[in-house]
Amino acid sequence: MSEMMITTDELTKHYPQVRAVDGLNLRVPPGSVYGFLGRNGAGKTSTIKLLLGLTRPTAGAARVLGLDPRRDRVAILERTAYVSENKRLYEWMTPVELLRFTRGFYTQWSDEAVAKYVRRLEIPLQQPFKTLSLGNRTKVYLLLALAQRADLLILDEPTSGLDPVIVDELLRVLAEGHLAEGGTVFLSSHQLSEVEQIADWVGIIDQGKLLLEAGLEDIKNEFRLITAAGEGLPAFGPPQVVSAVQAGAFWKYVVARDAEAFAARLQQQGATITDVSPLNLRQIFLALTRKEEPCMPGNGGERTAAVSSSI
């Protein structure tokens, strides 16, 4: 697996009160856009900090660009660009000064890229950072990352405060620049529709563990919502059934794979299948991460989504 851009091996990070990352096994293929998804507090930012050598793991290991972040941090950072979740930079500097400061660290910096992105993302260059809105701060941070011409972009909430036009522009910029040149993107975001547009791999983390890691298209090809009517339908099913919710006379099952087989089984039990439909990323994410209240009318009881990661 040495060709993977990022791999983690039982990566673990414990803080005094919480297990932020708990035996995580990630694989990020080169040239992919990997959407790293999870609820707040699920461990996304902690994982990213481990990958960048900002913190050290309690146990386990990670490899970024084939290197160990504990030992070869600088070598990794030379080829990796990062946009932090907190868009904090030096308040007194203008974007021009920030560019000048950042430029000095990198050999592959591109001034033409800077000029191009300033124009396309509409970045104000002369105002001090402290006067900039969140959206503009995000843009500046992105600019600093893109100008690096890195092999790997690690982006934590890169669309904070950005209006839809700029988000669209950003995705295009990524598609025609970084991705077209074979770069990899590791993207953590709550904006599932944007992730859906650009990602080809998805990893969903919950309470420090990976719930699901697969190609986005494969996920969409396999996940199905089965609506069935009938008596005595099961509230639980084989492992690939992610959730089961009862709504009146109907049961809605979200199935991670082999939907046809499960539907057939239900039919054997006398159920009528009224609908088998695909799901978008948001629906899949919610099905996997939402924990239902146990024993309330309208649901089939608590289900922790333990879907095996191979689809």
Partner: protein, 128 residues
């Protein structure tokens, strides 16, 4: 030609692209030897992952809908030459099965299902 994709639908983007290209070819909007945008350009225009476009193009090429010339350019292919009838039927069978299953679940009679297919074929014929 303008391709449009909806990333938030349950249908994978590559399938949407494939579907639209096939539809355009079937309806005559795309004729043999028409040029398709490059993977890079299409990805950039739509703001989607080039790998996704690449996959769609690969599948379309495998299905002989388009062909890529080494050294540049992707073109709509010249019909579907050299495919045996049995092969063409084999390709179509999964769609037929899906129609049969869906039709049965909806409790439609076989004649109604067949009529539906004929109507769609007629529509395609009109726009040629």
């Amino acid at each position: 030609m303008l391709l449009h994709v909806n990333p938030s639908s349950g249908v994978p983007i590559y399938l949407q692209i494939e579907g639209q290209v096939k539809q355009a070819v079937a309806a005559g909007a795309l004729k043999p030897a028409d040029v398709l945008p490059s993977v890079r350009k299409l990805a950039a225009d739509l703001g989607i992952n080039p790998n996704t476009v690449a996959r769609a193009y690969q599948n379309l090429e495998r299905d002989r809908v388009i062909s890529a010339v080494p050294g540049g350019g992707t073109y709509v292919a010249d019909g579907v030459p050299g495919l045996l009838k049995t092969e063409k039927l084999r390709r179509l069978r999964p769609y037929a099965r899906q129609m049969a299953v869906e039709g049965r679940q909806l409790r439609l009679a076989p004649e109604e299902i067949v009529k539906l297919v004929q109507e769609e074929l007629a529509k395609l014929g009109e726009s040629l």
